[in-house]
Amino acid sequence: MNHWIVAPIVLPAILAPFIIMVLRYHLDLQRIFSVAGVIGLLGIALTITAQASGGDIQVYELGNWPAPFGIVMVLDRLSAMMVLLTALLALPIVLYAIASGWDERGKHFHALFHFQLMGVCGAFLTGDAFNLFVFFEVLLIASYGLMTHGGGAVRLKAGVQYVAYNLLGSTLFLFALGTLYGVTGTLNMADMAMRVAELPADDTALLRVGAVLLLLVFCIKAAVLPLHFWLPASYANAPLPVAALFAIMTKVGAYSILRMYTLGFGPEVEATQGLIGAWLQPAALVTLAIGTIGILGTQHIARMVAFCAIASMGTLLIAISLFTETATAAALYYIYHSTLATALLFLVADFVMERQGGSIEPKTPMPQSGLISALFFVGAIALAGMPPLSGFIGKLLVLDASRDAPDANAIWAVVLIGSFVTIVGLARAGSLIFWKSHDAQHNPTPEAEEKILAQPAPEPNAGLAFTSVFGLVLGLVMLTLFAGPALNYAGKTAEQLFTPEHYISAVLGGEE
């Protein structure tokens, strides 16, 4: 058995308690171990991605119990690329959190950070539906701690809402799993897919209920309208480096939809027909629309980026809901792009908020505004989907994949108008924050202005903070430059997803 598969879960699972119990009072050591842990995770992720890129689906049987009796971890191209994305995202964020001093504004930042990584990696790797629930809980409970990190009345209040909403979502998840177990008698995803296909056609009412409940749960995670209400308040009030990490959490929802619905509840299963096309697609379109309206309407920069996250989830789920191989390949490319771009904008928003607060209105100038506005510009171009960055390629792929879809007109209209509104909204915010910084009341004399601009950065280690944000920019640039290889990988991943027989036979291999 290939023990690398379980390593992305084991490493943070050991490191996080170690940080809590041994390094509790040593912030410097915590930082060193945390960064080393993330680099280690990146190494592991690269290794398993290399292993998975051959196209073999590898299975890790926990406790050596064969599926479907034991819990299995499954490594295929999709899980490998998602784990790699998690590690790639975590590295700049942990560096930024250290450089900006966010990790000392409360306790246990690094431990919670690694528990969060463990939950996310576990959710990507597991091949068991109930285990997926458990890893969801791991990542959620760590996210509760991270979200309220640093405290403050408003943040805690937003935290209560966030926890209550997700607790309800978890309960719904259990109802869904219970229903599916009641119908199929198994919780192993591959086994479930097989039993679903064998189910007599007139005995599918409960299965349909289970599948709808499951889709609802994943839509809560992915912040699909009308289940998106938790996202703006939570993300805008969380510490913004944490919000940047949360960019991967909505993708966990998208990943789960892809995984479960390509495997077991695809369009060829009569009971769940129309679930993706007839329900998810309109919801995704409305999500994109509401996200862009939110970008235009909000008065706060962090909230604006949160709506950017919602809008990009809308685009992503449009691609997923087309449910073809090309569209899924486009979606996988877009997952990488939107995660990095959203995280980038959240970190830029943190720069702005640390210097002059978050409201989008004319204010006195801020130090380092040249550098920050350049970063904001790059992030805005990427998120709005303008050339030359990867957002343009991603949206182009999505539009191209939807050309033959029955609702192609609606999709093209929503995506294109949405992009336009996003550009307007981001341009409005950018020009108000960075250009019109001289309103009548705060207009400083030229000397005073030079003094303000020459102020040192509020971050304890501004160099590292800017470097880590440029790391995310570098990620976007690489994604653009190497769009060909990336898309090639995404295409093969989609091909693997749409031949679930390989997955099923790899997991249940022993039985055949």
Binding site: F130, V134, E137, L140, I141, Y144, T148, G151, G152, A153, V154, R155, L156, K157, A158, G159, V160, Q161, V163, A164, L167, L168, S170, T171, L174, F175, L177, G178, T179, Y181, G182, L187, P232, A233, A236, N237, T298, Q299, H300, A302, R303, M353, G357, G358, S359
Partner: protein, 119 residues
């Protein structure tokens, strides 16, 4: 038996949803607890209801048994919901202590358009 379990799940869920829609934190948390109880009972029933049957197979004779897997699931679900409830109680308590207000909704002045440091 079936009617009893089904109505228990139904009533717990209904009461839970009613409480979750309240405006103050405490009833909301109570409602969440009730719903987690409901889902625990529901998970038990997914292995089909069997009375007076052990949760192990008997390899010597063919006696009725009850499905052990849902019981393991319920155990996990109880532990998780227990921990989560403790977390939300603590967060709600500190939110109440720092804002002197236990409404679950954001008021106009701490609305998210002026969040975090600005508020």
């Amino acid at each position: 038996m079936e009617a009893l379990v089904a109505s228990a799940v139904g009533i717990l869920t209904a009461a839970g949803i009613f409480l979750i829609l309240r405006r103050r934190t405490f009833p909301v948390i109570l409602g969440l607890s009730l719903i987690t109880y409901a889902v625990n009972v529901f998970l038990f029933a997914t292995g089909r209801l069997a009375l007076d049957a052990p949760a192990v197979l008997n390899k010597y004779e063919d006696v009725p048994y009850t499905d052990p897997l849902p019981q393991a699931l319920v155990l996990t679900a109880i532990v998780i919901s227990f921990g989560m409830t403790a977390v939300i109680v603590m967060i709600a308590l500190s939110a109440y202590l720092s804002s002197k207000d236990d409404h679950i909704d954001m008021t106009a002045q701490d609305s998210v358009d002026a969040p975090g440091e600005d508020a």
